[in-house]
Amino acid sequence: MKPADAPVDKSRRAFLAGSGFMVSFALFGSWRALAGETNTLGATILAPDLPGDLKIDPILDSWIKIDAQGVTVCSGKVELGTGVRTALWQIAADQLAMPLDKFKFVTADTALTPDEGYTAGSHSMADGGTAIYHAAIQVRQMLLEAAAAKLGVPTKSLMLRDGIILSGDGRQMTYEEAAQGVNLHQQAKSVSPQGDPSAYRYIGHSIPRVDIPAKVTGGTAYVQDLRLDGMLHARVVRPPNASAQLKEIDTRAIETMRGVVKVVRDGNFLAVLAEHEWEAIQAMRALRERAQWQLTQTYPTNDTIHAVLKTLPERLYVTTRENNGPVKQVLSNASAASISAPASPTRSLAMTKQYVLHGSIGPSCAVAVFRNDMLTVWTHSQGVFPLRAGIAELLGLPKENVRCIHAEGAGCYGHNGADDAACDAAVLAYRTPNRPVRVQWMRDQEAGWEPLGPAMLTEINAVTDAHGKLQSWHHALWSTPHNSRIVNAGRLIPATLLAHPAAPASPAPIPQPEGDADRNAVPLYRIPSVRVDMHFVTDMPFRTSAMRSLGAYINVTTIEGMMDDLAEQFGEDPVAYRLQHLDDPRARDVIQRAANRFGWNLATPLPEGHGIGFAFSQYKNLMGYCAIALEVKLDKAARSVRIVRVVAAVDCGQIVSPDGLTNQIEGGIVQSSSWTLYEQALVGENGVQSVDWSSYPIARFPHIPAAIEVELIDRPGAPFLGAAEIAQAPTAAALINAIKRVVGWRPLHLPVARQDSPIFA
């Protein structure tokens, strides 16, 4: 220990050497989970040596069930609008050698499927897809061996066609017949028979998504479309902000309104149940008008939030990477004041981001029924198992008496109101036995009560040698949590409003290398010394949680801005400068492919107001690679920024559905450009002020990019890598880099194209 009065040595190495100041809790040199640990998605590791999510449920018949009715494949992952259900189905079909329509595919139901934690973090293909890939081929092998024994022929002589086992002598056997006497209730093996990518009929092919026909014709496709017999419609009334206290309310006049069945008040929790939906809405309005709230707290505003974030209680997490080795993260007990940026950096860059909304088009909804001591909840939650645990804890029910079934909602892009609405439905159904209860949040409730994507600050100081070669890199960032998922009842909003509220679990970041606010803060570039200080602000002025790509969005934007600025300073082309600092051949490949297809050349003359930008990242430094090149047109008179053309090159390992992947990248580009140009949740002294699409404007048809091209790099046989979030960060970064080329200076505060933005001055 240093004496308290010793001068603080501000150099990074000295800081790290002061081991008395820190508690080391994890090493990621060989990134390998241990049995009993919980993974980043909230599921428990049971078999660390198995591939994908077989680690958390290693028993084969959790994934593949065969009975007299046929084959059923189960996945704990859910369809969030990414097409993952079809993609997982495709994997099972090829590995089982069965057509898609010859077996059932069941997702996320706490009574039927494996617990794969959350469907989040672009893990579904990497973990869920990998589990099905291996489970299916192992089951197929077992069936073949069983059939061979039954038919008295060598296994190798058997053929598979459309789920039928054929022997050379013309005899055949169904999987159901072969499965008789075979025990699938056994642990998977760590090594599977090799699949033959060239024989795949589904993997690598753009199979039309199975969910689309119902969605475009008005079929039952969403939890919103569930209509159960005797179902009541409920609406909640929320306080004006999270700290408001209900003073008084007289509900008698509401109880006699047309169709109203009852009004529920418990502490600050208010709701109304009615026979019909419109009746519930009218009663909700009347209830809202009568409710008197005591405001107990004032909140930071859009103008003050970044200064406030630097003053709030925090924990400091320090991640380092020395000599391009493994990253190491420690929780430091140094005070924030005792650390500072390296002296005399070659360049510095600081950026800010405002709070953003997930902005699901369909506000959260859930249906629940409590019957015969069993509570069943249909929900568009990303994690039915954690939700079940939270609801069971809140209501004091055994977990076995709560069943959560996933039903699709509108796209969520992270942790939105889904779990909270499910909890609303659970609370109300529990108090109204035998009648299903459907809770539908209103738009203003979704906007005002969904967890926000956090406001953040980033500061990068980079040191290069005289030729521009990177030597050291220091990235400091401030943020509230990006992961307030449901680890206990208190993380569910209704639980915090009850007269006897449950307390939320204290926040904890997703550790490196996946990262939380510090996701992707360690650059993939070759730099001898990297340090990231994550100021993890634990006191949330506004509840924040996961939103597509987490901190990677602004971290990569800042990193890639710094790379551009350094390239310019040293007279290098920005693409070439990136390549000079990259060894990973797949990273180099996406960069070169994007640049070539785009025709990247800074010397090409462009029309007035046009500029081009480039950016790259590998999501979490672990998952899909994505490079973006784009051209913008900035019209100062019209105060508009439009993407004229954007080219993305992506590498997500073996591609399961090329069209599905392209769709995800296109969507990510459009959404990220809307975030980056326009989006900012209005926050003020009374809390969140964005309540609709006029107080939270997003891009509409006239504002979206004119042309989007996606180039896919397939890696047959390589592991599946996540894709759903990989375009968010590089799109933002390339957009800012392009705008800088038009206006001549770097916009530092997101969003950049609001009507009062200085880029139009």
Partner: protein
């Protein structure tokens, strides 16, 4: 009791006159096509056609409908036999979560019944009232274009003809 002409059938409904059409369609007629998105005419998820014009059903009192003909997504085809525009959305896989798509199809249908070969800008301007959060816009535009490029106005009575 209010009589509503929906998808070619007039039926009496037990609703109060101010009830927004959206809830009459979803809650009383059990139709899924019109979606609740904002209740304020800002997102277009609830778009249906009233006498061929695209309207926000969330703000449309049933008492305002009168004898006008209401058409929802269900009138354009079925899962087994999708209509031309629905088929174009399938062909282009112009869906991510799909929640906005019912409204998108109905708004586009209104345009394509009126204009044989709309320009790209016409389509974009026409579709501007409807929001998509997944970023599927390019595919939605491509699906609309597939039908528009046939150069023939869509038939407003598709359902009745099939029935």
């Amino acid at each position: 009791m209010i009589n509503l002409n929906v998808n070619g059938q007039t039926q009496p409904l037990e609703v109060t006159p101010e009830t927004p059409l959206l809830y009459a369609l979803r809650d009383h007629l059990k139709l899924n096509g019109a979606k609740y998105g904002c209740g304020m005419g800002q997102c277009g998820a609830c778009t249906v056609l009233v006498d061929g014009r695209p309207v926000f059903s969330c703000l449309f009192p049933v008492s305002s409908v009168g004898t006008r003909e209401v058409r929802t997504l269900e009138s354009l085809g079925t899962t087994e036999r999708p209509g031309p525009l629905q088929q174009a959305f399938i062909d282009h896989q112009a869906v991510q979560c799909g929640y906005c798509i019912a409204g998108m199809i109905m708004r586009a249908q209104a345009l394509l019944e009126q204009v044989a070969r709309p320009t790209e800008q016409q389509i974009r301007e026409h579709m501007a009232p409807n929001l998509c959060r997944c970023g599927t816009h390019k595919r939605i535009l491509a699906a609309i274009r597939q039908v528009a490029d046939k150069g023939q106005r869509l038939n407003a009575g598709a359902l009745k003809e099939r029935a």
